[in-house]
Structures are given as C-alpha cells and as structure tokens.
C-alpha cells in the first residue's frame, strides 16, 4: 500500500507539462498549469452497448481514417455479445513494456503513463504490439501501430459515459470499474 502511494506521488511530481507528452492541443483541462497529465480510463465498461462510437471517433479525429481497428481504443465482445464488452486500450503503464520493445525510439515513455509516439521513427517492425500485455496496440497491414495517446477525444462520443479521462496523479488504475 505504501509503495502504491509512493508511486502515485512520483507520477504526480513528474507531470510537469502536458504539452510535450504527445497529447494534442485542446484536451488539457487546465492549460498553462501543466501539472495534471490525463489518462484515458474505460471506467464504466459494464454500461457499454457495443456501438463502437469511441473507436470510430478515434480513427476519424486522431488518425483521419474510417476504422474500428486503427484506433487507440477497440471494443470487443468478451465471449459473445451476451457477455458484454471490453475495451482494448492502453492502461498507461509506467514503465511501458512497448517502449522497451521499440528498437528505434518511435515509442518513448509518457509522463503519467503510456507512450509518446513519433511515427517518423517507426520502421514497422511490429515489436510493440506483442509486447503489450493487454493487446492494446493494433498493427495495420503495413505494420503501422495504433495506440491510445490519452487525448480523450473519444470520451464525448460514448453515449453511456463508459469512458473518462482522469488525472494520472490520482493513481487510479484505468482498468478499475466504478
């Protein structure tokens, strides 16, 4: 318990800015203050109806694509539609195993958890996807990886508020349901 608390503090104190961590402009809650790095949290997936609006919004707004795969969040049924849905998305690991797996620096550690991606450095080797323990990285047919950048642009498209962005400093695990 103590270690977890220390970890929280460490993450919080390390969060100097959001501008440099890959998070797009316009998604900061307190622009200028720069202390509250946000992470995407699929906190209420038990409410999910499987409309895929979040994935489609991510692909549309972040990657300029029509897809439910090429997105930072993908919705899967957990054993048939009768068992409900789960979100495949970045759990904001720190340290992130996908960063370790990347041989070119295309992935680097994001303060607050998750990764900063620089696609110019990506050689499509595909090492990042299997390194992710929760299958949150999608590789398209060319080997280009798609991973959540915790920008939160999918959040308003969920009709049931399954998703939210939370302060990374809260130490709240994004996989914990309400």
């Amino acid at each position: 318990m103590f270690l977890v608390d220390m970890h929280r503090i460490e993450r919080y104190s390390d969060c100097r800015t959001v501008q440099t961590d890959g998070t797009p402009r316009g998604t900061r809650k307190n622009p200028g203050r720069g202390r509250h790095v946000k992470i995407l949290s699929p906190s209420r997936m038990e409410r999910c109806i499987g409309c895929h609006s979040c994935s489609l919004a991510c692909a549309r707004l972040v990657h300029k694509l029509l897809s439910w795969d090429a997105a930072g969040i993908r919705i899967m049924s957990s054993g048939g539609l009768s068992s409900g849905f789960e979100a495949r998305t970045c759990l904001a690991c720190d340290p992130a195993p996908c960063v370790d797996a990347c041989p070119t620096g295309a992935y680097s550690q994001r303060r607050g958890g998750g990764v900063i991606t620089r696609m110019k450095l990506c050689i499509r080797c595909g090492k990042c996807a299997p390194a992710c323990p929760v299958d949150a990285i999608y590789l398209d047919t060319s080997g280009q990886p798609f991973v959540c950048i915790h920008c939160g642009r999918c959040v308003p498209f969920c009709p049931h508020q399954c998703l939210e962005t939370i302060d990374a400093a809260q130490g709240h695990h994004p996989g914990v349901a309400e």
Partner: protein, 582 residues
C-alpha cells in the same frame, strides 16, 4: 471505400469460389435497396422457383454506411419462399459495418454448397468451410461454435440459421449477431436451401476518410441531433414496446388473433412492465449510439434444490405483440420464454406468433384437432405455445409443415381463411385501420416499415382515398431512398432530405445528392418492377374478412373504404412498375 462504382463479391457456393465485380450506377442506384434490385435483375431468375440453385441471396449496404451514425443496416434481398416473389428483409447488428470494412458494397451468393457450409468473407479473405457438424444445431449453439472457430471478436458479424431454416419453413429467419435478424419472408429458408448454415463477415479493412472540412462538420451535426436532442429518446428509453400500451389505449392492438383490439390485462406486457421487471441492459448495432436493442432475461428452474439457468433475449414491440397480445399471453416473462424458443429455432417470431394465433382460433372452432396440432392450443397458455413453436420450426407434422408456409396456406386445406390475420404475410402489430391494412397488404415488403400507414390512420379521419394513397406512395419513395443509404428507419426524422444531401456531398457523392428525388423514384420503380417480374399481382391481393370486423377508437373498419384504397393503391403500383419498364 468511397468509389464511384460498386464493389460486389459474387460467390458461387457450388464452386466454392467468388468473383469480385465492379458495377457502375452509383448515381442512379445509390446502394442498399436500389443496388439489391439491380443485382437481382442481373443475377436472379424472375421466372424460376425461389429454391432454384442459381437464385441469388443478396446483402447490400449504402454510400453512407459507416460514415455516419445510424447508417447501420443491411438490405438482404432474395426470391421469397413465402410467396415465390422478389423481396427485401432488413437487419442490423454488426452486418453493415462489417460489409463496409470488408470493403464490399454488396455480397451476392449464388449456387448450392455441396455440404452444409459456412461462408467467410473479409477484405482479404474468402473461404467456404464444411461445417456439416453444425447442421441441426440451434441458433445459440451455432453462434457459440462459430465464435470459437473464427477470429476477430467484436469486429465480425455472424449470420446463421437454425432448424427452421434447414427444415424449409418459409418463416425461417437469418439470425444476425444473436439479437438482430433478417426476420421476415424466409431468408433463413433460402440459406438452408443453399446448404449455407452460416456467413461470417470480417470487417478487417482500414479505409481513408474524405479529406475536406465538410465531413467532420456534418458528422458532428448529425451526431448532436441523434444524441443531444430527444428525437431518438423513444427508442433509447422504453424502446418500441412503448407502443403496446399506446395502441391498447386507442383500441388498435391486435389481441387474440385480432378478435379484439384492446385487452384490460395488457399491463403485464407493456413496455413499462418489461423495462421495470425484465430489462437487463441495452445494446446497439455497430455505428449507432442510440442502443435501441432491449435485452431481457429468461430464468428457468431446471432442477430441484434451486438450480436455475438463464438466457438473454431481445424484445421489441412486434415480437411482444406476436408472442404476447396475439396469443393472449400477458406475462412478460412468459413472452420472453416464447421469444427465446423462437430465437433458438431460428423462426421469425412475428410470423410464428400470428400463425399460431390463427391455429388457436381454428382449434376453438373445431377446424383443427390435436391430431394436427399434437398439443392443445389455447389462448393464454405459454407452455403449449412453446411446444408449438418447436413443432412449427421443424415441421413435425404435415399440418405444421403447411402452417410454416403461412396461415393462409394452412387455411386453404383446413378452413378458416376468413380469420387468418394475413396482409401479404402474417400481420404486424398495428390494427389502426384501413390505411395500415392496405399498406401492409400491398406494400413492397408487406412490412409496417414500408410506409407509415399506421400513423396516417391515427392522424387523418377523413376518408380521402387519393390523399391516403398519395401519402403511402410518397412515404414509400422517401423510405426507399433511406434504405438505399442504408439508414435505420428509426432515424428517419433526423435524416431529412436536406441533411442526407449534406452527408452525401461531404463524402463525395455530390451528383447523387443533387438528384435525390429522381433517384428515389427510380429506386421505388425498380423495386416494384423486380417484384412484378417475379409474379406479384396487386389486383389479386385479398384482405381476409377478420380485418373488416375490427373496431378501433375511430369506430368499425369501413370495408368499402378499405376496398377503394386497395384498388387505388394496386393501380398506382402497377403504374410504377410499368413506368420502370419504359
């Protein structure tokens, strides 16, 4: 992908192979209903029997599928085993988005597989697999087995049939992703006749978006209208079952084989009761944030010492009317157990419930005995109906096999045609009056969704034949365009012509946007032409006597007004088909 032409996969089940075909006509056919009619004219045999191996089973999506919310339906067209004529059935689930991400505007399936098979398609995949081991399996078991055998959880659509489709019942449906269906007029039977137990569509492509400023702006406008206003609240809240109490109140709910139009005991099966007592959760078709799918539960004690099992089953107004009010079953959990039984067997619950309602009245009148029905059929007895659904699905006796072809077919042998609640097919859950009866009896799909005749009955008291038929045809024209996009018709008040034009322009179909009225009329005519070419005679349509005995809040049905409407509508349909041929 946004293309000027259509990309169609034409599969020959006998050969086990397919042929991708590019087809021109985006600006005249649009997609969906229009594309399906064109494909039937190319690949169908209008004069051949429905089960001729070469007859196509067609699935088509539209130019807006996936690009905008609620553009989430697929049009399935085929020559129907129910009437041996061309028809459409519409379904949702994941089917539409999966076809989009398989990068196909349509899938055309011809031929007959040598063995019971599963067809899998994707953007880089086509395969016909022998799944003989699933022949005879119910819809639930088939779904479970295929989920295990196929990769792509969440981004695939699994279409399958149950024992009803295998047995040749003209009421067999195609189950889509457990909770949706291509329900009516026997699409499941067509699959069965082709030895096609299942179709798995993998939505595995990543597609480019239009690179302009209009698209994101129009998308946001549509999304806001759908989610930030109350325009869709009816479907999101209680869902379509809200109609049960409303129709009962205005004496327009078919009860006990339409012997009555309201029932004081309806409280047990209203939308409010289902939501309060039986609603587990909501679900959505892919690409639709509304979540109109209402899922209830069936809980069964299968052993002493409190051993229970449970299943989840979707419900809507139409299934509740057919398995509830029409059969005198007024307990929501009893209704859900009947819906569950029909789901399992893969039979359309609307047709099934209405046919069993006829059989029940025929039993009461002594036209049928237990020699035919095996078990006694009594209004209000769900246990018997549960048994009967199984008999009807597998065709246990000659009687059930005949009833599976439609209540009027059975009535032709056993008598009782005057009280068979058939309007082109087994009736939908509205007894609002003459205009609705006409619209279903003569409508293209014999569906309550062909046009809003039920709404017209409630709003217009004057008996103006021309005005009513003008309304039906104009409403049908607009809906034919929406089902060519392919929109869910629940969004018809959001997707006005103006907004549809903006959507089409934003994704690069400006020419189609500028000629929507002409194109919609062309599609309407094309569909009727296809229907007529397969033998539809609008003048030969009869409305059973029971419909003329109905009394609604507005008073008794006027048989002569009904006859005039029917004659006028038949003449206008004939004219449309003639125009299309010129």
């Amino acid at each position: 992908m946004i293309r000027e032409h259509f990309r169609v996969m034409v599969v020959d089940l006998a050969a086990g192979s397919g042929n991708p075909v590019d087809l021109e006509g985006r600006d005249t056919l649009a997609g969906g209903s229009g594309l399906a009619a064109e494909l039937f004219s190319r690949y169908g045999k209008p004069g051949g029997r429905w089960d001729d191996q070469d007859q196509p089973l067609i699935f088509a999506i539209g130019p807006l599928t996936g690009y905008f919310p609620l553009m989430s339906k697929t049009v399935c067209s085929f020559k129907s085993p129910y009437h041996n004529q061309y028809t459409e059935s519409h379904g949702g689930g994941r089917s539409a988005l999966c076809l989009r991400f398989a990068d196909l505007d349509a899938l055309v399936i011809t031929g007959k597989a040598k063995r019971p098979s599963c067809l899998t398609v994707g953007s880089r995949h086509l395969e016909l697999k022998d799944i003989s081991y699933l022949w005879g399996a119910d819809v639930y078991a088939t779904g479970k087995m295929l989920r295990r055998a196929e990769k792509g959880s969440g981004h695939r659509s699994i279409l399958r049939i149950g024992p009803a489709g295998e047995s040749g019942s003209a009421m067999a449906c195609i189950n889509v992703d457990s909770y949706r269906h291509f329900g009516r007029l026997g699409g499941g039977c067509v699959m069965g006749s082709k030895n096609l137990k299942a179709i798995v569509i993998h939505g595995d492509a990543v597609l480019p978006l239009p690179e302009n400023r209009e698209y994101p702006a129009v998308f946001d406008e549509v999304y806001k209208k759908l989610t930030a206003t109350d325009m869709m609240s009816k479907y999101h809240n209680l869902g379509t079952p809200v109609n049960m109490a409303v129709l009962n109140e205005i004496k327009s709910l078919p009860v006990r084989n339409l012997q009555k139009t309201s029932d004081p005991a309806i409280e047990g099966i209203t939308g409010e009761t289902f939501a309060r007592d039986a609603l587990l959760r909501n679900a959505a078709c892919s690409g639709c944030p509304i979540g109109c799918i209402h899922i209830g539960f069936v809980r069964e004690k299968f052993m002493e010492e409190n051993q229970y099992l449970y299943r989840q089953v979707s419900y809507d107004h139409e299934p509740i009317f057919a398995a509830g009010a029409m059969l005198g079953v007024n307990d929501c959990f009893a209704v859900l157990s009947l819906l569950d039984a029909a789901e399992k067997m893969g039979i359309d619950v609307m047709s099934c419930g209405v046919a069993l309602a006829w059989a029940t009245e025929a039993s009461e009148k002594g036209l049928l005995s237990e020699k035919e029905t095996i078990i006694p059929l009594r209004f209000g007895d769900p246990a018997s109906y549960k048994e009967a659904i199984r008999h009807l699905s597998v065709g246990t006796t000659d009687f059930y096999r005949l009833l599976g072809q439609g209540a009027l077919k059975a009535a032709a042998r056993y008598g009782g045609a005057e009280f068979a609640c058939v309007l082109g097919q087994e009736m939908a859950g509205y007894a609002t009056g003459e205009v609705f009866f006409t619209s279903q009896a003569l409508g293209f799909r014999h569906s309550h969704l062909d046009s809003a005749g039920y709404s017209y009955d409630q709003k217009h008291k004057a008996k103006d034949v021309k005005e009513a038929v003008d309304f039906l045809l104009e409403d049908e024209r607009g809906r034919a365009f929406l089902t060519s996009m392919v929109s869910c018709l629940f969004a018809r008040n959001v997707y006005t012509d103006e907004l549809l034009g903006q959507c089409l322009t934003a994704v690069g179909y400006g020419a189609l946007a500028s000629s929507m009225k002409g194109v919609s009329l062309h599609i309407q005519k094309l569909r009727w032409k296809a229907r007529m070419a397969t033998g539809f005679d609008p003048d030969g349509v009869t409305v059973p006597k029971r419909f003329t005995e109905v009394v609604t809040e507005s008073g008794p049905v006027d048989a002569s007004y009904l006859e005039e409407l029917k004659n006028e509508y038949a003449g206008r349909i004939r004219q449309l088909a003639t125009d299309a041929g010129q």
